[in-house]
């Protein structure tokens, strides 16, 4: 059993950061919510619908209302960036190709990719650019809900900070609800409204201030350990 009595609610328009030690099931939680893993017990609700209990057509519709950014972008390697972004548009809508191209172009610009990235293949992009392209694909249908799996993992600190501010910008302008799985205490600090820590097979939810005051040994160690302290001190200094 990975989770026991886990109860987590993400409110509309907030950024919920999920933290936890390796192996506690952060990614499992995300994959279960988006429907890649079938839970053996319990309930999941996305916009009031339980993806495990609705029929295939309703599930297909529901899947268009959220976007997922996987760890390394998970771009389709045989398609260019622009074609990758157009995949969900082609799947769900019947749009003229001129408009499809415009939408892809706008999304590429919105995630901060250089214009010449559009016709490149994923193998020609750096890790950071692949994540941006993956984000553009996740946002292709303008979903209300966005799942991010370790968006800053593997990026250098500058690129990670850029990516954080990109997510913050898009979250504000597109009024996204964000489910953010991360290890990165800087990301939590800059973009998360609330934090859910996965400890003892369930979550403890609270704001950054709550987490800093939490007595649970793992949470205390996470936020007050040497790395946590340094990140928080740096954040305080800059603000």
């Amino acid at each position: 059993m990975i989770f026991h009595d886990l109860d987590l609610e993400v409110r509309r328009g907030e950024v919920m950061g999920i933290v936890g030690a390796s192996g506690t099931g952060k990614s499992v939680l995300l994959r279960t919510i988006v429907g890649l893993i079938r839970p053996t017990a319990g309930r999941i609700e996305i916009f009031g619908e339980d993806p495990t209990r609705i029929d295939a057509a309703a599930l297909h519709r529901l899947e268009s209302t959220f976007g997922v950014l996987f760890q390394d972008g998970a771009l389709f390697s045989s398609l260019t960036v622009a074609q990758n972004i157009q995949v969900p548009l082609r799947e769900y809508l019947d749009l003229p190709s001129a408009l499809l191209n415009e939408i892809a172009a706008v999304k590429i610009a919105m995630v901060g990719l250089p214009p010449d990235a559009a016709r490149k293949y994923p193998s020609e992009l750096s890790g950071g650019m692949r994540k941006r392209a993956g984000l553009a694909r996740a946002l292709a249908l303008d979903p209300a809900l966005l799942f991010l799996d370790e968006p800053t993992a593997g990026l250098d600190p500058i690129a990670a900070a850029d990516f954080d501010s990109l997510i913050a910008d898009l979250q504000r302008s597109m009024r996204l609800t964000v489910f953010l799985v991360t290890h990165d205490i800087d990301s939590l600090n800059t973009i998360a409204d609330r934090i859910a820590a996965l400890v003892d097979k369930r979550t403890r939810v609270g704001t950054m201030a709550d987490m800093l005051g939490d007595e649970h040994p793992w949470i205390h160690e996470y936020f007050h350990g040497p790395r946590g302290r340094a990140a928080l001190a740096a954040a305080k200094e800059s603000s």
């Binding site: 809508l93 172009a105 706008v106 946002l139 597109m174």
Partner: protein
């Protein structure tokens, strides 16, 4: 995805066109909005007010449609005013218009043209020649390393060698045996059918003997091992390459050729002749069963007929080819494995290539052997 789709309604006020926009300006409604907005450009008016008061939901595609209309009509000499955007949508509109300044113009690779075909032939030819040269130097490298090993046999990795011999030899016996048996059966059946017309059924045995011992036994064994073991070599070494294990080996002072390639090469050199021998036996057995069933040639009769007319070389010609085929399979399998880059996708691509290339070269080599043997008159 709310129900009310986006709409626009146009009205004229003097020489100005007033376009009221409302509903959900989202990507799901963009098809109709796009068409209606593009139609505006055909009108003979040069002034437009776009009133966004009634817009309930706006997403980035809707925002782009507003901006595009504004940009394109302005560029065409219109005066365009966009009015009454609800404050909640302002950040989005700002973001999209900010992005609109750096839009990529070329989205897709240029379409293929006829000239590209010629260019592609040239590119592939050059690449193939380069690969051939590289394969030759790999052969040289492996030979040098093999000679070094033969001088210091204690460096040979015995456990690895035995392990590979089991995987490439023993484990392949069932599939090789069954397929050879069936080929023998089919050959005997077809041969008997034709030869019966001349009353020469007994020569089915000679046909079988020559075909299976000289060509088919070893060829079948080699092709099956190329598919089974050649691909396994590429996939295993390729996966190690992806995990940087090969790099780690090199840094630790281990020679990948010595550790990865030679045990596989030696294992295949030792097992393929044996597997080919097994394929010969099973093929002949299949043929013998068929002869017995359809031509009433008993097994002792089959063996007598098999022995008498065959030149003594026939069996050895087949078995002699086996080490050459083994060398091709192991070299190509390991070479393609070592060419894997750090992406998982290249493992699959090169594994396919390794099988195709080794079967291709096996058949070429077989043809070369035939020519050489016919010159030598054996």
């Amino acid at each position: 995805m709310a129900a009310a789709a986006g709409w626009i309604s146009t009205s004229r006020a003097g020489d100005r066109l007033i376009v009221a926009a409302g509903g959900n300006w989202v990507v799901t409604a963009s098809r109709d909005l796009d068409r209606q907005l593009r139609a505006l450009a055909a009108l003979d008016i040069r002034s437009l007010v776009l009133d966004l008061t009634k817009i309930e939901v706006l997403d980035s595609t809707g925002a782009w449609l507003v901006l595009r209309t504004q940009q394109e009509l302005t560029a065409a000499g219109w005066t365009v005013a966009v009015e009454n955007l609800a404050p909640v949508f302002e950040p989005l509109m700002r973001q999209v218009s900010e992005s609109g300044k750096t839009l990529p113009t070329v989205l897709h690779p240029p379409p293929r043209r006829f000239g590209d075909l010629v260019a592609r032939i040239g590119r592939v030819t050059v690449a193939q020649i380069a690969r051939g040269a590289e394969l030759l130097s790999f052969l040289g490298l492996v030979c040098i390393t093999a000679l070094r090993i033969l001088r210091h046999p204690s460096r040979l990795r015995l456990i690895s060698l035995v392990n590979h011999m089991e995987q490439t030899g023993v484990d392949a016996l069932p599939v090789v045996g069954l397929l050879s048996l069936l080929v023998g059966v089919v050959f005997a059946f077809q041969g008997a059918d034709q030869l019966r017309q001349f009353g020469a059924e007994i020569y089915t045995v000679n046909l079988l003997g020559i075909a299976i011992l000289r060509e088919l036994g070893v060829l079948l064994a080699a092709i099956i091992l190329a598919g089974r073991s050649g691909s396994a070599f590429t996939a295993a070494i390729g996966t190690m390459k992806v995990n940087e294990e090969v790099d780690a080996m090199q840094v630790l002072g281990l020679d990948p050729i010595e550790v990865l390639v030679l045990p596989r090469l030696f294992a295949l050199l030792l097992t393929l002749p044996l597997v080919a021998f097994f394929a010969n036996i099973m093929g002949l057995l299949g043929g013998a069963i068929m002869c017995w069933a359809t031509l009433d040639i008993t097994i002792p009769g089959f063996l007598r007929q098999l022995r008498s007319p065959l030149p003594g070389w026939t069996f050895w010609i087949g078995v002699l080819k086996a080490p050459a085929f083994a060398g091709i399979i192991a070299l190509i399998g390991c070479y393609e494995g070592l060419r894997v880059s750090r992406s998982a996708e290249s493992v699959g691509r090169l594994t396919t290539r390794s099988v195709v290339e080794s079967i291709f070269l096996i058949i070429i080599a077989d043809a070369a052997f035939s020519i050489i043997f016919s010159y030598l008159k054996i």
